[in-house]
Symmetry: C2
Subunit: 388 residues, 2 copies
């Protein structure tokens, strides 16, 4: 197995992109990533695209070929593969790309994620997203994602010390970071009051506890570490990539205040990289709802179970804190184009490790982590990246 | 890169399976494959599932996790990944599984394909399948797959010697093979008259030129060649796996009587395996329509361009002929559950190479090939397998 490096990254702005088609979102991100890496299109050996539900959002399947074609890469007949795992599609696309390079099967590989969610109405969008949960049990009885995560929040708050204000603080922090990120969907700061006064979606979660519906794409270029000197980009090494599954339905879990798949994936990643949580300088976690960030930072090992609220309240997860979480603004403020999120997380960590994150830069960041969740935790991808 | 072997295969019967749910189709195929391999569920390291459009057929995404869960594999939190490339989804799932084992990242990996197409009406099914072509150009003007392949047939028949009867002979041969395959959707022989008298779908293609709407699943178990002695199954070696892309829309192709992606994938596979078409004992090709088989046998190198009709007419592609094509019955008679087809092709080749194909057995078969197409040829996967 060869060592693998990220040699270029690109990301579109995230938001409601009415004038950009699904296929063009990828082109923009892909072109930025290739330019950043100093790689020509014809040098690309393979493409992996994370996408959750273009079939339902834009009535298009066969995404790998479509993207290769519109990127001008089908002329060399490159292998192009779509990977799907609901909101963890991007994280898994990155992992497959790493495996392809590590194996020696391919050299220069682009891993991308893309989702165009605003071409259908909110109802159809919520229905499409419900396909990430168990359609025959959860979907059948009308449970949608805000409802499922609200159940997790209720269970958590019943068992551990977490106030409504602590939850709100997650959104406040992530908006504060998003305000410093030029690609973020929401670039304005909010207060705890903004969250508490926003409309109730699924008790206890309010509008500002929820990540938005977003259009966007992100792409990264991978190469064997031994070849990075051939390209102009600043390389960042992939120290570990791990993936874990769990039961798709929330009601089949051992414990709904913990994502066992996060624990499993994190353990595998830390063990592979010979690292511990203490050595991680920043982490992008999957905050599809504020409660998800609280649970994630505990399950990843940044604090003990039940301490996520305190950690957040005391500013330890803010910029300048002990372990900055979601410096990009996270899913909450940067936005959540579901298939693209896992790649955007890598984009943010690489940007930070290269010292190019501007106003949201974490001082002397050398090792970063990403945590990407599908559904309510049935798929989790964790990657660790480090400066070379 | 390690050598990889198929150590077990399983396939459901193909057909209109009204009483079986999407998730249960996989379980049946997976259990058969594990039993065949002599592998316990807890020994499985990873799972790759090919599926085209469960989002539109059964309103379910996040297929990898769902399948792992219902197979009882989520308890060990295995990595489970869905791969999509329209009707080539199964072929690409197999390829990703081979890469995972070859890389050393995983040891025992299940590659599966599944599709449940009959839970929606024919109209919705045709619409879902149209997602394999270019939605914004081909789909937008109402072009569906019979129409697209009919255009290829018209172009081909204008340029090369191919009679309406030659086309029909493809279906006659594949029904003859299907009649000898206990899992086939159609197990009855037909005559050229059956095809010529069937209703016109898209001139010149008639009903019996078209593969059917099918429910079904197939699964295979992979292991490093060096570990096959630990299991009870008869191993078959993966000699090559290749994949190629092309423009998604037919109107952007250089030539619509040839699939350039088939040519590219076949060249890569033959070159990797150090083999030529003469050394292949049987091949499963993607006969979604009769014209597709004619084009495929030429593009794969089994005869020159324009000779596919003659080869078929003279019985060289029949059982006992020079190069038996689609001994399983092909997509036409065995059925075409789109995401499962690429894995069923591997199932058939492995069954043949193990000498277990019963009435449809190819004498002394030692090397077999599969050819799986997405859309009208925007993705092609070609695999070569051989006895160990």
């Amino acid at each position: 197995m060869r060592d693998v490096a990220v040699i270029g990254v690109g990301c579109t702005t995230f938001g409601e992109k009415w004038s950009t088609a699904f296929r063009h979102l990828f082109i923009e991100a892909g072109a930025l990533a290739l330019e950043d890496a100093g790689v020509q299109g014809e040098q690309v050996d393979a493409l992996y695209v994370g996408n959750m539900s273009a079939g339902r959002f834009v009535e298009q399947e066969h995404i790998g070929a479509l993207i290769a074609d519109y990127a001008g890469l089908a002329t060399t007949h490159i292998a192009s593969t779509r990977v799907e795992a609901a909101c963890a599609s991007g994280g898994l696309a990155f992992r497959q790309a790493v495996i392809a390079v590590a194996s020696g099967m391919e050299d220069i590989v682009v891993a991308a994620g893309v989702e165009k969610m605003t071409d259908v109405g909110t109802g159809a969008s919520v229905e499409a997203l419900a396909g990430a949960a168990d359609r025959e049990w959860e979907g059948f009885v009308g449970a949608t994602f805000p409802g499922l995560y609200a159940m997790m929040a209720v269970d958590y708050m019943h068992r551990y010390p977490l106030s409504r204000e602590d939850l709100a603080q997650v959104a406040v922090k992530n908006h504060s970071n998003g305000a410093k990120n030029p690609i973020a969907q929401f670039q304005q700061e909010i207060t705890i009051d903004t969250v508490l006064r926003s409309s109730l979606v699924a008790d206890p979660l309010r509008l500002f506890d929820c990540s938005p519906i977003t259009d966007g794409a992100a792409a990264v270029v991978l190469a064997p570490l031994e070849r990075v000197h051939e390209f102009t980009g600043t390389p960042v090494k992939v120290l570990a990539t791990a993936q874990a599954s769990d039961s798709i339905a929330l009601h089949d879990r051992r414990d709904i205040s913990t994502l066992d798949a996060t624990v499993a994936a994190a353990n595998r990643a830390f063990s592979k990289a010979h690292l511990t949580p203490r050595e991680i300088d920043l982490v992008e976690v999957h905050d599809c709802f504020t409660i998800a960030e609280i649970i994630a930072i505990e399950d990843l090992g940044f604090c003990r179970k039940g301490e996520g609220g305190r950690l957040t309240r005391e500013g330890e997860t803010a910029l300048g804190g002990r372990i900055p979480v979601n410096t990009s603004g996270g899913l909450k403020a940067c936005g959540h184009p579901v298939g693209a999120t896992g790649i955007k997380q890598v984009w943010e960590v690489v940007t930070q490790l290269r010292g190019e994150a501007g106003a949201r830069q974490v001082d002397s960041a050398e090792i970063g982590m990403t945590h990407n969740v599908g559904g309510t935790g049935a798929t989790v991808a964790v990657h660790i990246l480090g400066v070379t």
